[in-house]
Amino acid sequence: MTEMREPIESGVPDHVQYLHPLMKKNYGNWKYHDRPRPGVLHHVAHGGDEIWTVRAGTQRQMDHYTIRKLCDIADNFAEGHVRFTIRSNIEFMVSAESKVAPLIEELNKNGFPVGGTGNSVSMISHTQGWLHCDIPGTDASGAVKALMDELIHEFTHEEMPNRVKLSTSCCEINCGGQADIAIVIQHTKPPKINHDLVANVCERPTVVARCPVAAIRPALVNGKPSLEIDEAKCVCCGACFPPCPPMQINDPEFSKFAIWVGGKNSNARIRPTFHKLVASGIPNNPPRWPEVSAVVKNILNVYKADAKPWERLSDWVERIGWPQFFEKTGLPFTKYHIDDWRGSRATLNASTHIRF
């Protein structure tokens, strides 16, 4: 056997070497910014230097040809430096305002929409799905592509009351994260267990320990050590599936989509909030998931029409109250919206504050 190469445990590289020269020069010394148009940021340093940033949407999962194309645009129409936002938007930095319009034109010509700044709907933060995940209930890139096609106007314009962050997740672990509107798989049936495989594949005590409602117990099935589920207790979360793939939770028919709204990580105005369940039972319908898009667009339209300037979705609901949210969106309020998990009494209305 040939000698193996020892890794150089270099960790995170120094970012300074990749900064645009103006960003390096004015590091920690910026004074203010404005947005000349959607998709463009203009930052001014204390010393008077100015930098323009053009933001464009990408498909996140990029073939190297796409990345090379973006590099060509950066070299020919910007200044060879780019960065990415956490929502997979690419940003090109330039030192002169005159470079902004030709850069935008070139990006649009090559199919990269310019936008995602300020009070727009930015690119959807998403997961891997069928492309690469080992436990996905659906695809991610496809659902995102289909929805962004429909929301393109809201990406390229700043017409929302405040910024809108969306996410999608292919299972209830919610790797896509908290968002103003989050689209998350919600399983509706307990896992189907392949008892022939459990003993060989699963560390049973680990699986038992993963269940949040203690619904799993060791059992002997057909003479083989396996696991059984108390289906009356099971909340169909899928937590047992990653450590025990024979406990198949994904179901082409019964794994549905749920929509959650009002998540916000910024501290601006009200404290950060978690998103709340508003709709579920939406079919998992590739390749374009039209039913999901319809629910999301309806919520966005009502929010756009009804919220006041600077209200994030959570600020808006805080002002109008949840009963009006359900009324205005037309979404049905069901018993499943009333929380019964730990701490749930704090989510009940312990007052006579009611809007009529």
Binding site: I8, R60, I67, R68, G80, S88, W130, D134
Partner: protein, 432 residues
């Protein structure tokens, strides 16, 4: 030229429309890459059956225990042979990007060259943990590709029960709200825990995230076990020229409705400039020749709203630093939890300040390693043992900023009350 592509009528429907299409990208790669031909075959199958077909396994690079996400196909025929053999192994390398995700085109092209040669050519910028995800390598090519990235100065990120890849916002590089050097803090912290990253041995994952202000653009409060969020202790800085410019453009309606009434602690008020308080802790910005916006800084919670609306006219103070919150995580197992305040304020300027941040991280991880149950996140552990036990474990003193309100039930044994009062007096004396 690669082998013939399969018909993909489902995926083809994702090639139309204005948003960039990943399917078009996959097909471009498949023109001269058999792995991508078969990847498209498997993905189309998933779209038809609504099922995933990947399983994990054990693939890594020499010297490390994590950082590669192994994927083997489970889509097999009756003889256990992969139906799409050229994509039977489709592993991902997680590579850590620089803080703020800045790149030169030269660097991105080098990444492309390596991945075109040794992988599928598919790169995700970026994964939800912040990694550059080089997706699609055979088991044999994982080491070869890693060696080339590693020689370029890049290193594997985290996976499994380990310290994970981190993120920092654009921050000081291009944002006026930056309250500390986010990328430096991220780099120095993560690089202090490379052993815990590359050789997974913790009870479960541990994530750090770094945001330069309370807008928290990397979502540290909800997505990290230890969130470092920029803030300041002194008064909001003001610029009269920019204040007047803002007011001339936006007017009284917007000032009242969008700025003053949206302050969560009612720390803003409209004043005749002659009546602006001269008291300590008050700052103000001119709106026109006679009126000013007055800020009561001791009642400001640094939420960032007014600073966001009136950027430049209002700005974070000069005495900057960070608030540290611990315990944020997603759903499993107890439900999502946010980080809560552990250190209300710490300076992040000198080398010693950054050392102190590292020490806090080290104490938190050491305590987590010794006390968390298997597969338990830090937030769940704190939920189980109580905040006070955690604070005592990591050597941090209590502070009223850690709670929304004091206890609302009497179920506590308080026979150590006098002793605790003495400690409180001592803390007060030490702080003075």
């Amino acid at each position: 030229m690669a082998k013939k592509q399969y018909d993909t009528p489902m995926l083809d429907q994702l090639e139309s429309g204005p948003w960039p299409s990943f399917v078009t990208g996959l097909k471009r790669l498949a023109k001269d890459n058999d792995m991508m031909v078969d990847l498209l075959g498997q993905l189309e199958t998933s779209y038809k059956t609504k099922k995933g077909y990947w399983k994990g396994g054990t693939v890594g690079v020499f010297g490390y225990g994590g950082g590669v996400i192994p994927r083997f196909t489970e889509l097999k025929d009756e003889h256990e042979k992969p139906i799409f053999p050229d994509a039977a192994e489709f592993h991902t390398l997680r590579i850590m990007p620089p803080g703020g995700m800045h790149y030169t085109t030269d660097l991105l092209r080098k990444f492309c060259d390596v991945w075109e040669k040794h992988g599928s050519g598919l790169i995700a910028l970026h994964g939800q943990s912040g990694d550059i995800m080089f997706q699609g390598a055979t088991t044999a090519n994982v080491q070869i590709a890693f060696d080339e990235f590693n020689e370029m100065g890049f290193d594997l990120g985290g996976a499994g029960p380990a310290v994970r890849t981190s993120m920092s916002c654009v921050g000081a590089a291009r944002c006026e709200q930056s309250c500390f050097d986010e990328a430096r803090a991220m780099r120095s912290t993560v690089n202090n825990f490379l052993d815990d990253m590359h050789r997974p041995a913790l009870p479960y994952k541990f994530k750090f995230k770094f945001s330069g202000c309370a807008n928290d653009c990397v979502n540290s409060i909800q997505r990290s076990d230890m969130a470092v969020i920029g803030t300041w202790r002194d008064s909001i800085q003001t610029d009269d020229a920019l204040g007047k410019k803002w007011f001339a453009k936006h007017g009284m309606d917007e000032l009242v409705n969008d700025v003053i009434t949206r302050c969560p602690t009612k720390a803003l008020s409209l004043k005749n400039t002659a009546d602006v308080s001269k008291a300590e802790g008050i700052s103000s910005v001119a709106l026109n020749d006679s009126q000013s916006l007055q800020i009561e800084n001791h009642n400001c919670v640094r939420c960032m709203h007014c600073v966001n609306v009136m950027t430049g006219a209002l700005a974070p103070g000069k005495d900057k630093g960070a608030t540290i919150l611990i315990g944020g995580k997603s759903v499993l197992k107890i439900g999502a939890t946010m980080g809560t305040v552990i250190v209300p304020f710490m300076k992040l300027e000198s080398d010693e300040d950054f050392d102190a941040l590292n020490e806090l991280g080290q104490n938190a991880i050491d305590f987590f390693a010794e006390n968390a149950l298997e597969h338990e996140r830090t937030g769940e552990m704190i939920d189980r043992i109580g905040l006070v036990n955690f604070l005592e474990g990591i050597g941090v003193e209590i502070d009223p900023s850690m709670v929304l309100h004091p206890r609302a039930n009497p179920y506590i044994r308080t026979d150590g009350w006098d002793e605790e009062v003495e400690k409180a007096e001592q803390r007060k004396a030490n702080a003075a």
